[in-house]
């Protein structure tokens, strides 16, 4: 799975600063928040890059800048070799169908007044890909593919559980057959027993559609499971990146070590041993 093919996404020295302004009549910039502060990474076609970091590390801002939902302060984002940083909205539009996003909160990211069929069909309609009976058929296919039933087409988001809503969000992201999916904490709001279902679904969809993922989460266990490579973010910078198992088993950066050491071990004997300082090999 790892290192397959050409880089689909290449990010170089990406910077996003938010100015902190103060002033009565004329705003003066008094400081800046360095949310993304010189980040470089590449993601190959068909690969999953896991992005981990704590709140405030800049991982969500990074996602939004990569997808040009926020304008970068400086730096380059190349998608299939083409520079997209700073492209106008109009010139971005044809590229939008190639890159989609899945959000954390399935309760907040679906319009409560629209039916599931409309929500999932919206991208197809907006991009003029399908309409009428054809649109309906394609949406129902998508719903089935993510583990929902075709009859869910006419239901509203509130009629679904959290896991089902996240499936709706995934179906919407898949609708335009994108190449890249950026998933920002897609399973953090879900119950434990549902989390694994969604992770496995994302895995299957990747195989089936040859998708490339940037998977953002604070849960390192889940990130390591799904990722080929992991990048660790701290204070707007990537402090370490490498193959998932290597980063988790032999972290090089002190911050990565701190982060990994803080993850609770779901094994009482092991955590007792760690507490008494007699860690087992």
């Amino acid at each position: 799975m790892s290192g397959v093919g050409e880089p689909l996404l290449e990010v170089t020295d990406l910077v996003k600063h938010f100015p902190v302004k103060r002033g009565l009549l004329v705003d003066r910039e008094v400081d800046r928040v360095r949310a993304v502060d010189g980040v470089s990474f590449g993601v190959a076609q068909g690969e999953t890059l896991g992005l981990v970091g704590e709140s405030g590390s800049g991982k969500s801002t990074l996602c939004r800048v990569v997808l040009q939902l926020l304008k970068p302060t400086s730096g380059s984002v190349r998608f299939e070799g083409e520079e997209i940083a700073g492209l106008s909205r109009r010139r971005m539009r044809p590229l939008r169908r190639e890159m989609q996003m899945i959000f954390q909160d399935p309760y907040a990211s679906l319009n409560p007044r629209k039916r599931v069929g409309q929500i999932v069909g919206e991208p197809l309609r907006l991009q003029g890909r399908a309409s009428g009976a054809e649109l309906r058929r394609r949406v129902q296919e998508l719903l089935e593919r993510v583990g929902l039933a075709p009859e869910h087409y006419g239901r509203y988001p509130h009629e679904f559980s959290g896991g089902q809503r996240q499936r709706v969000g995934i179906a919407r992201a898949l609708a335009l057959r994108p190449k890249l999916i950026v998933a920002d904490e897609p399973v953090s709001a879900l119950d434990v027993s549902i989390r694994a279902q969604i992770v496995n679904l994302l895995d299957d969809l990747q195989d089936e559609f040859g998708l490339t993922y940037v998977f953002v989460a604070h849960d390192i266990g889940v990130v390591r499971h799904i990722s080929d490579r992991i990048a660790v973010m701290h204070d707007g910078k990537i402090v370490e990146q490498g193959p998932a198992d290597r980063v988790c088993e032999q972290p090089a950066d002190p911050y990565t070590k701190t982060l990994l050491a803080a993850v609770p071990v779901p094994d009482p004997r092991e955590s007792r041993a760690q507490r008494t300082g007699t860690a087992q090999p």
């Binding site: 704590e54 709140s55 559980s161 959290g162 896991g163 089902q164 119950d191 434990v192 027993s193 549902i194 989390r195 694994a196 279902q197 992770v199 496995n200 895995d203 604070h218 849960d219 390192i220 266990g221 889940v222 390591r224 499971h225 198992d245 988790c248 701190t258 982060l259 990994l260 050491a261 803080a262 993850v263 609770p264 071990v265 779901p266 094994d267 009482p268 004997r269 092991e270 955590s271």
Partner: protein, 345 residues
């Protein structure tokens, strides 16, 4: 570890009248809690774990709630206590810490003033200055640096971890015997979570504090709990010591939870073991065992509700609600040398 129970909960049932009909949020929960003991209640949303905790301190009383059973703190029956009596018990004897420290602190009052207010609500004779001194002392004891200065900060000047420390300081200011912590670290970053868990563990030992920890995270449970209740759809499906639950789990739902954990110290499996389906609606529970529709090991008898009983001869305090024999369970739960929930071969 176990001495005379401090808190004795028996046959606790909580029903709510809703638009969709009456639902049983908690259906017969019983447990004892001894001083210095940490009891973890584990479950997913809708399992009844938070309603159980809130009912213990009388927070679920409402015209739409039907509450049955007994909650005894030492010799006092809390179920019969008046609102005024309950207010005295809350804070003095049983304190609670919630998930989100931002919404539990009032943003327009200084942190210290809020602690002082909580103290003086119970200690009418204590002067403002004395209460403030206690507040500073408490903030220091939960690891807030420069507490004499930070006592005058507003909540927004505290980080998430510091806010949760402040909530713990407030909860413990009146030296309660029982602390109920409802997902106390869920909203926090993992490095901060580790600090708060250390803090709670230390307080628990130093003060001989009995703690009920409500969580969905078995990793957190493994680090701090002595005993565990696993809840599903309003009922306790398994209870036992920490080691019994992790190394000899008897209920298929517990296997599923343990199986879906990711371990950083183990090679990753090809697929993450999952539990099929979703938890049932409390308005439309299946007959018999509530986990039956999701359980690959279900058989005829599962349409009859199993009682929570000790089914192992060697461990009378390890109880579960599953009809499979202990031999079948030990046979079925092994998945590639690990515990998990899989289709039977």
């Amino acid at each position: 570890m176990t001495s005379a129970p401090l808190l004795h909960v028996k046959g606790l049932r909580v029903g709510f009248a809703t638009e969709g009909g009456e639902l049983q949020a908690v259906d017969g929960v019983s447990f004892d809690l001894a001083p210095g003991e940490v009891l973890a209640i584990v479950g997913e949303s809708g399992s009844g774990k938070s309603v159980t905790a809130q009912t213990i301190i009388g927070l679920t009383r409402s015209p739409n709630a039907r509450i049955e059973g007994s909650v005894r703190l030492r010799d006092t029956e809390l179920m019969n206590a008046s609102e005024a009596e309950l207010r005295r018990f809350r804070g003095e004897q049983i304190a609670m810490v919630f998930q989100d420290p931002m919404t539990s602190l009032n943003p327009v009052y200084r942190v210290g003033d809020q602690i002082v207010e909580a103290i003086r609500a119970h200690r009418e004779k204590m002067s403002n200055a004395e209460a403030r001194k206690l507040a500073v002392e408490m903030l220091g004891s939960v690891g807030i640096p420069e507490p004499a200065r930070r006592v005058d900060d507003y909540p927004h000047e505290f980080s998430g971890g510091m806010r949760q420390r402040a909530m713990i300081a407030m909860a413990l200011a009146l030296a309660p015997d029982v602390l109920i912590a409802d997902e106390p670290t869920t909203a926090l970053d993992v490095t901060i979570q580790a600090q708060i868990l250390d803090l709670l563990g230390g307080l628990n030992r130093e003060r001989n504090l009995a703690t009920i920890l409500i969580t969905h995270d078995l990793g957190v449970v493994a680090e701090v709990a002595d005993r565990v209740l696993v809840m599903y759809a309003g009922r306790v499906v398994e209870e036992g010591t920490l080691d019994q639950i992790f190394y000899d789990p008897q209920h298929p739902y517990t296997w599923g939870l343990l199986g879906s954990l990711t371990r950083l110290d183990r090679p990753r499996p090809k697929r993450l073991p999952q539990i099929r389906g979703a938890p049932p609606s409390l308005l439309d529970l299946p007959t018999g065992c509530s986990f039956r529709p999701r359980c690959p090991h279900a058989f005829d008898r599962c349409t009859e509700l199993p009682d929570l009983a000790a089914r192992l001869e060697e461990a009378s305090e390890h109880r579960d609600r599953c009809w499979l024999t202990p031999e079948q369970k030990r046979e079925e739960r092994g998945v590639e040398g690990r515990i998990g929930l899989e289709e039977p071969a």
